[in-house]
Amino acid sequence: MAEPLAESGHRRGLSAGSHLLVQAGEYVCALPLRSVRRVLRALTVHPLPGATDELKGLAEFGGEPLPVLELARLVGAPTGAKPAYPVTIVVWVGPQDARELVGLAADAALEVSEVQLTSVVAGNGGFILGEALVDGEVVRVVNLEALGGDQ
């Protein structure tokens, strides 16, 4: 099995401010790298009847069922162009003592970048921690801990 991204990044000297930038509709979102387990070509998703719009459905990951959420819906991003290489980003969500794996469907994984949390502004106190400037572009910084089930 390939090495988890967060662990490999730690050995390469990536800091706690390291984030994976991903395209979600017309937004660029920043996911804390320590919570990212894997980036995959978009997994096949089986929709669940009665699910909210944010839940694309269930996929299989490593022999286990994995809920897959639509990142653009979660952050309220306008729909962008049809992605050429859509991805599923497998991440840990929820508080550290009760974390769980989910897949985030996104349009593309862009790069790893530093996001200083002291520079994040205008958060909603929930899933979107706030916005920050990265290389002159506004990115939505995502709080994956708030995506757990007991929020």
Partner: protein, 120 residues
């Protein structure tokens, strides 16, 4: 940090499909299976459920509990999740049959015939 949820091995599941979704029902919870034209009706927990296809029976499944994140975005009842042949499936809770499997029209409520060799 708490350990990741572990699957629970349980034996004997009937696998069925409805609207493209794969469901698993513990063999012990199946009270009857009747054919209605091209479709089937499954009796579970005193309720009648409509299904499109009987996929088969598997001797065992590793069942994972529903996670909090999934419950947040999918309010229906279920007994857990599993994977069969690389496809995820939802385990029916016989005490709380899912809304997604309820009979949807009067034609499904008419008396059917027992499917040959498929009663459990």
């Amino acid at each position: 940090m708490s350990p990741a949820p572990s699957p629970v091995d349980q034996r004997g599941y009937l696998l069925v499909r409805r609207d493209g979704v794969l469901w698993g029902v513990s063999n012990g919870a199946v009270e009857g299976l009747t054919r209605h034209g091209a479709r089937f009706r499954l009796a579970v927990g005193g309720a009648e459920l409509g299904i499109d296809e009987v996929v088969g029976v598997v001797p065992e499944l590793a069942v994972w509990p529903l996670t909090g994140a999934l419950r947040r975005f999918w309010p229906d009842a279920a007994g857990g999740l599993a994977v069969h042949a690389e496809a995820p499936l939802v385990i029916v809770d016989p005490h709380r049959p899912p809304r997604a499997l309820r009979l949807t029209d009067a034609s499904e409520s008419s008396k059917g015939e027992v499917a040959d060799g498929e009663r459990h």
